[in-house]
């Protein structure tokens, strides 16, 4: 019964999204206000159907209705309620339904926010979103249908993928990732609308940028959570292995970041419109590519879903969207370019161009490295690998260049400047850079690249803070009161700018923390017998013994260690080995003792009787990465917060510089 109802909802949403897409495109072509109204209604209807369908699935999961195939696959009466709830995204079919749910909410939300605005573009945007919605509805209705019926109805199920239950981060990471991935559909729709219209007006930049920034924030957090999860679970003390699926999440983030930067030049100078739109389209395409990578079974990854039949379907969709984007760009890109100009290559706008170049090279390198083994196998029939040493060698210089730009770019003034002014802007931060370098050296950093990163990082942080508070200083100089000036410059009018620099500050910390944590880490493998101790990196580790614990879904061996420093007890650490019924190899859960400066990481390699093979890792600054990425997300959100409803004022025509930024 539930299954039938679910199937009905999905079929209805296929119908609604397809019809809606046609209506919306027709409304766009005819510029019909009535047609726009109808396309909005279809957008809401699509969202409604997706939300209800997901609700039905959750209901089936919670009530353990094993007549529904997905529940029979991932449900179990043995697991706690929260596991049951999150098992919606624990397996392929459910995760696609969840995707549809998020897509529905994004579409309806954006449609509603812009219900009275941008009427010129909205029909095409809604049409594009609903076309994507139609594809995902089709996927849910056909190749990845979670609502199939099972007969006879089993009494119990196996429960979701044990990895999902292994760590809390596994619960929030996937929704964050979907919010980022799915959200890229929205700017894609806007970009397609601008191309279809052959125009990208100044007022349309705001929704375009905001719709890109929101999924960017989610994706930023999601990538970090994925790394954090790997760090907490995989047991080798690293957070990034350049695994194809990790790369898949990074690729759209890189192009979206590039697009957010080129959008600033577009806004200020009216140039790079076609380029920004291209980057936005690439971001969406890369999310689809990422979906293909995770779900086709073509790539070897710790994160991917096993065996699935939807690979070909996603590939066809990817090909169709690629073709659509290329044709749109080819036919319309020239009509977007306006008569804007930049004044000097060695200026802030020049740096934006270089920034974009490096982001594109970064993206390209990661993409090539990820798919290259497939290319070689297709051509030569031989297997090969492209792994971490390659990516480290290729990407680290690009990353360092980006950090350099992050420091120098914002220090350079817009437009043309003279040499003196430029030196005045560029020289003082060098002192901060030198201080950072010296501090690093004092702490024992000897790796040349890390020292360079520290120098650039100090430089960039100086510039970032100077820029961050510049408007406030200007206001104070004019004699404004501190508090109102602070609120106005940082949180109200200058909010976008301030948010942007908060993101930059976070990014600088991430760069430095990555460089330090990857080059300054030390590790040791030891075998300890019960009662035995070893001293490593300042701590004495004493093996106290093991304990077996049986839980409904797993059997764990917990090894207990006493950690002390100079004879003073610090903490007890309990890394464990978990044996899940459904998995061949045991999955370890390392234990991490985090302090502000460094993490002390214990991972069990093997346990035999009274002996434990232990990997001890001492790694500085890892925790800073998680915190700094959250800071980046917060900066993005600050820049996003809408001020108040826009009030329209009549601006005299002679003042073209006044636009949304000043008014909104």
């Amino acid at each position: 019964m539930t299954a039938t109802f679910g199937r009905f909802l999905i079929l209805a949403s296929v119908l609604v999204s397809t019809t809606g897409a046609f209506i919306a495109y027709a409304a766009g072509a005819k510029r019909s206000p009535e047609g726009l109204k109808w396309s909005q209604r279809f957008a809401y209807a699509f969202a409604g159907l997706m939300v209800i369908a997901t609700g039905v699935m959750e209901y089936a999961l919670i009530t353990h209705d094993f007549s529904v195939q997905y529940v029979a696959h991932v449900g179990s009466t043995q697991v706690p309620l929260w596991v049951t709830i999150v098992s919606l995204w624990s397996s392929l079919e459910g995760s696609i339904l969840f995707w549809g749910f998020i897509l529905g909410i994004y579409i309806a939300g954006t449609t509603w926010v812009n219900r009275n605005e941008h009427q010129e573009y909205m029909p095409f945007a809604i049409g594009t979103w609903l076309a994507c919605g139609a594809f995902f509805s089709f996927l849910i209705a056909g190749p990845a249908n979670p609502f199939l019926s099972v007969n006879p109805v089993p009494l119990d199920g196996p429960g979701p993928n044990p990895l999902l239950q292994n760590h809390l981060l596994m619960i929030i990471h996937p929704p964050m990732l979907y919010l980022g991935y799915v959200g890229m559909t929205i700017p894609f729709g806007f970009a397609a609308a601008a191309l279809l219209r052959g125009r990208l007006g100044q007022s349309f930049l705001r929704p375009l940028r905001a719709s890109l920034l929101l999924p960017w924030v989610f994706l930023t957090i999601a990538i970090m959570l994925g790394g954090w999860w790997a760090y907490e679970v995989l047991g080798w003390g690293g957070y990034w292995a350049w695994d194809p699926v990790e790369n898949a999440s990074l690729l759209p983030w890189l192009t979206a970041t590039a697009a957010l930067h080129s959008a600033i030049v577009m806004e200020r100078r009216g140039v790079l419109k076609g380029w920004t739109v291209t980057l936005i389209q690439a971001s969406f395409l890369l999310t689809i590519l990422g979906t293909f990578m995770t779900r086709s079974g073509v790539f070897n990854s710790v994160h991917s879903f096993t065996q699935s039949a939807i690979g070909p379907t996603i590939l066809i969709f990817l090909a169709a969207v690629l073709l659509f984007s290329v044709l749109l760009l080819a036919f319309r890109i020239d009509s977007l370019e306006s008569d804007g100009r930049i004044e000097s290559a060695v200026s802030r706008e020049g740096m934006f161009l270089v920034n974009n170049l490096f982001f594109v090279v970064f993206t390209f390198t990661v993409l090539v490295g990820t798919v290259f083994p497939l290319v070689v196998e297709a051509i030569k029939g031989k297997q090969m690998s492209v792994g971490r040493p390659y990516f480290d060698a290729m990407v680290v210089p690009v990353g360092t260049a980006l950090l350099f730009l992050l420091g120098v770019g914002p220090a350079l003034p817009w437009g043309k400047t003279n040499r003196k002014e430029m030196l005045r802007a560029l020289l003082p931060p060098m002192i901060t850079g030198a201080i950072a370098l010296i501090i690093g050296y004092a702490f024992g950093v000897r790796n040349a690249l890390t020292l360079i990163t520290l120098f650039f990082g100090g430089y960039a942080i100086h510039v970032t803070f100077a820029q961050m508070w510049l408007p406030l200083r200007q206001r104070l100089k004019k004699g404004d009161a501190f508090a109102p000036a602070l609120i106005d410059t940082q949180l109200r009018r200058g909010r976008r700018r301030f948010g942007g620099y908060v993101v930059h500050a976070g990014a600088v910390i991430v760069f430095v923390a990555i460089a330090v944590s990857s080059t300054m880490r030390t590790q040791e493998e030891v075998t300890l017998t019960r009662g035995q101790s070893t001293t490593f990196a300042g701590y004495t580790v004493t093996f106290l013994g093991t304990e077996e614990r049986t839980e409904p879904h797993r059997r764990s061996t917990i090894a207990r260690f006493n950690i002390s420093k100079n004879g003073q007890p610090v903490t007890t650490m309990e890394p464990r080995m978990n044996q899940y019924a459904a998995m061949r190899e045991p999955v370890g859960t390392p234990d991490v003792h985090s302090t502000i400066g460094r993490d002390y990481y214990l991972s069990i390699m093997n346990i035999q009787g009274d002996q434990v093979g232990l990997l001890i890792i001492n790694v500085p600054m890892v925790g800073w990465i998680w915190g700094a990425v959250l800071l980046m997300g917060a900066g993005g959100l600050i820049a996003l917060i809408p001020m108040r409803r826009r009030t329209y004022v009549v601006v005299p025509e002679s003042s073209p510089t006044i636009d949304d930024e000043a008014i909104a």
């Binding site: 200020r268 090539v368 090969m384 190899e585 000043a662």
Partner: protein
């Protein structure tokens, strides 16, 4: 080391040896910290065959630790990095090398990004040249809001 060989000979035990595949050691035997460091370095260039894309240096699996032990032993005996990598390549194929060799089709994975950087650089410079015009004195200031006219507009807008 010698004792082990002796013991093996006694039991008539013989395991496949690197010498059969890559010849005699061409380097100098390593020991101590240098040995550890080099073992670590090479372990990060070899892919763990049971894991998913991890290096043997990062993998907790049994096969990976065997391979690590083998790397260490070969270094102790004076094999060079190149010889060790080629020893593993002989039995596992290029699959085992996480850092593709700069030869044949594989060279492309190194060349392409550099080519894109070079082409991109040329494009950016030419684009910047194209966009760059004689200085029309910039109207857009860092803080357009300090403009008295804009301040008036804002006042109008922000008035409830």
């Amino acid at each position: 080391m010698i004792a082990t060989f002796f013991l093996l000979a006694l039991l008539q035990i013989k395991v496949p040896d690197a010498a059969q595949f890559v010849g005699q050691p061409q380097g100098r035997p390593l020991a101590g910290a240098q040995l550890e460091q080099q073992t670590m370095a090479i372990s990060h260039e070899l892919r763990c065959p049971v894991c998913q894309g991890l290096a043997i240096g990062d993998s907790p699996s049994i096969m990976a630790s065997n391979m690590k032990a083998q790397v260490r032993e070969l270094l102790e005996r004076g094999y060079t990095e190149e010889q060790i990598l080629s020893y593993f390549e002989k039995s596992y194929g290029q699959f085992v090398l996480l850092k593709p060799k700069f030869q044949g089709v594989n060279a492309l994975v190194w060349i392409l990004p550099v080519a894109v950087l070079a082409i991109g650089f040329v494009l950016v410079v030419s684009k910047a040249k194209k966009l760059e015009v004689e200085p029309v004195h910039a109207a857009a200031e860092e803080e357009p809001a300090d403009d008295p006219y804009l301040a008036r507009v804002r006042e109008m807008v922000e008035k409830p």
